[in-house]
Amino acid sequence: MSTSSNEIVLQARGLVKRYGDFSAVAGIDFEVRRGESFGILGPNGAGKSTTMKMISAVSKRTDGELTILGKDPNQKGPEIRAHLGVVPQKDLLDRELKAWENLFVYGRYFGLPRKWLRTKVDELLAFAQLEDKRNSKVDEMSGGMQRRLAIARGLVNEPEILLLDEPTTGLDPQARHVLWDRLFRLRENGVTIILTTHYMDEAEQLCDRLVVMDAGKIMAEGAPADLIKQYASKEVLELRFGTDRNEETAPKVANFGDRVEVLPDRILLYTENGEKSLEQVMDSGLKPVTSLVRRASLEDVFLRLTGRSLVD
């Protein structure tokens, strides 16, 4: 579901960030509309976090153009940041302070009045499902709770754009789902969200539109379903013949699908009908050790674009 309008809140043109001779971000173009949920998908080292630092209006770009909320972050950093909510990868919560104090103190940085904040803090704790952790210190909370507190903190100034850097990295599946639910609600309520992730399922769940990044460049851009349609097939048949036999068997199954990809541990056969292709493989006398038919995902898109897996 998207509640985006046509108003562009963030625009990057030929955006570059260099550290010495190394280009962490090597000229990227994208734009984000108000109310949109936008993802930056890529493996570790793709330049996602560097991009995030630039669009958080803290790290200055080396080259190119960047406009956030109609302003240039190199000139108007603090002014832009007054309306951003940032959830850093490593939470950066204050361990000396209690949960509520973390939100309160953060709100004060934006010049918000104490009285208003006292109500807001309770509202945010309820949203993050942390009411009973109000007076707990950060170390007494689980990883999932800490991340939810960090998200609540990022919302204390009622931001125009919420930026999340790898929001569910390091969380267990249950904690991830609670978090996705919270983010989904924000998205329904019209908050513009920009997130980086190396999890394709996360990107598919949360993003209206995304860019796939690798080695500092954008490889593709579009809605998750469109990207899958464009770069992969409808279904994927995964076949395992054993590590030694995958490579030699691949040409024999290639005819049963649109395209074949050989990974060290398995063969991926891209096809419109996985069950039918599997039948053809079995009929041809080949006997895979295991087989699996699944929907094509962004993982397959990434593999197609870069020849590598998202998660190494």
């Binding site: 940041r81 940085y109 100034n157 009622e158 931001p159 125009e160």
Partner: protein, 277 residues
Amino acid sequence: MSDLRFTPGAVVDAQRAIRGGSWRVAEYRLRNMMHWWAAIISFGLGNPVLYLVSVGIGIGGLVDKASGGHLLGGVPYLQFVAPALLASAAIQGVMDEVTFPVMEGFTWEKYFFAINATSVSARQICNGVMIAAFARGVWTVVMYGVILVLFGAIPLGSLFPLMLSSLIGGIAWAAVIMSVSANLKNDDGVFAIIGRFVIAPMFLFSGTFYPINLMPIYLQWIGWISPLWHATQLGRDYTIGEAEPTWLVTVHYLYFAALLVTGMLIGYRAFVRRLGE
């Protein structure tokens, strides 16, 4: 299960947020300090009492008795040493707030990066740390000063100028140490080295316990470059009327100003560079 509804961007007045940034960082630092209130209060009270009893009364008693009170121009040793002890306490108290908190902010917990993600700028974070350190200094000198008066170590009338000169000396030195802390990637025992090879000699050779001119000339320079000596001289000028010529009083304050400006400029650069990486 609670929902959250708001009009994005409506609640924050960016200009107002930007204006008060330094003060809000100071507010945070003070709130953080409050978690250590027991240590801060007991140190603030215990330190002067211990020093005054042991050095002022103990050693002082010995010095005064041996000299028949003529050694320091008729000034009792307790009164001679009191302004130096206050200046030293101010310098140490303020320094506490610009060493580990800065390391914590940049390296150990990286809180400064979270603060910098708001409308607060790198320079404002630096200012906020210094304002909070100054507040800690005020607490330290007030505690110390009152106890000095109670011990009869300084005249009541000299309390205010003495506290002020010590505080200025403390904050000038804090700026220098803050600029060092802000440039450290990791501790690596640097603070221990500063403690042993800078603070300890400064304490011993700045005319704290004896007039600096009793030292051979080749050791007196340690005092001249030490903010503690400058603060001590100013303090003695106010308390026991150790008449410093006007030009020397000016030099003392100019020296503090130079330390403060240099420290802040180097500190600002480090804050801006590290937070904007």
